[in-house]
Symmetry: C2
Subunit: 178 residues, 2 copies
């Protein structure tokens, strides 16, 4: 039985979802040695403030490259939740930002203070996407912590290593508490 | 008749092909208002030093999201050319780095000094990917210059705006000379 994980990272345009998608894909593909397809699409259905990036991770070759039954969903805004949670599987894992996402129409959603911790502990909300990646990896184990850290370090602007390492640590800490 | 363009950007791991793919996709999708799917895959076939990012741009909704008949190919290294040029269409446009790609097995390939101009004129080879995007846009008109510049500016680290604007300018200048 092959294992296929479909992950969707969604939020508003400025929240770094595509960067997070590329980082997660590299953690799984380059460092964990899995088969991975990472994609984003733009079009009439993607108009508005919501943005998403998708990552499919499999131990088999990936022939069908669309994400249609989501195993792991991140929603950083209410609009992203409303727009992109419909095809989350019934046993899927959902992580949402507890400040920006107030209404979720299903039980078991992990509401985590991603943006708030980014602001308060790291001093910049911009790293909320990295906190989110840490939380997702910690909760689901879809990538190893070591690989995720390597991928984060290879993709961030020089000079921001400490803040991003701190963000990742916060994410894993949040995961440990769920 | 719908217009579909499949673009593959390939090079070695550190040459910023994925960043270039995301930028090109945002230029076409966010700023030019086209339908776009941008993707990268990782797996056994992607092992080794070569890296690629693909962008499909269409005036219609994109149902088939794999790139299988390439209209525009960028190859920044010989390995990338050898690995990723096989499904370039016979009337496709190929742009290669003239320093790193020495042998091409078809006529009409645009050999441009992308890395060399980056080093000599901008002072950092890292912007060769942005020069390449300018050259591709200038030669093929697959995205507008205005949209490409907006997308570049939204994706680069703060403080590197001037060097990237210069890189883009060099790319369009190279295109004007082909």
């Amino acid at each position: 039985m092959s294992k296929r994980h479909e992950i969707r990272l969604s939020g508003s345009g400025g929240q770094g979802m595509i960067t997070a998608g590329v980082i997660l894909a590299e953690a799984a593909g380059v460092y964990d040695g899995q088969n991975v397809v990472q994609s984003q699409s733009y079009g009439p259905e993607a108009r508005g403030g919501a943005s998403k990036a998708e990552v499919i991770i499999s131990d088999q070759e990936i022939h069908f490259t669309k994400a249609t039954a989501i195993d792991i969903l991140l929603a950083m805004t209410q609009e992203a939740w409303d727009k992109y949670s419909h095809d989350l599987k019934s046993d899927g894992v959902a992580v949402v930002d507890s400040f920006y996402v107030k209404e979720v129409d299903r039980p078991g959603v992990h509401k985590l203070p991603l943006a708030q911790m980014a602001r308060q502990e790291v001093g910049i909300e911009m790293v909320a996407n990295i906190i989110a990646l840490g939380a997702i990896a910690g909760i689901t184990k879809v990538v190893t912590r070591e690989s995720l850290e390597k991928a984060v370090m290879s993709r961030i602007p020089k000079g921001t290593e400490d803040k991003n390492r701190q963000a990742l640590e916060i994410g894993f800490r949040l995961a440990a508490g769920v």
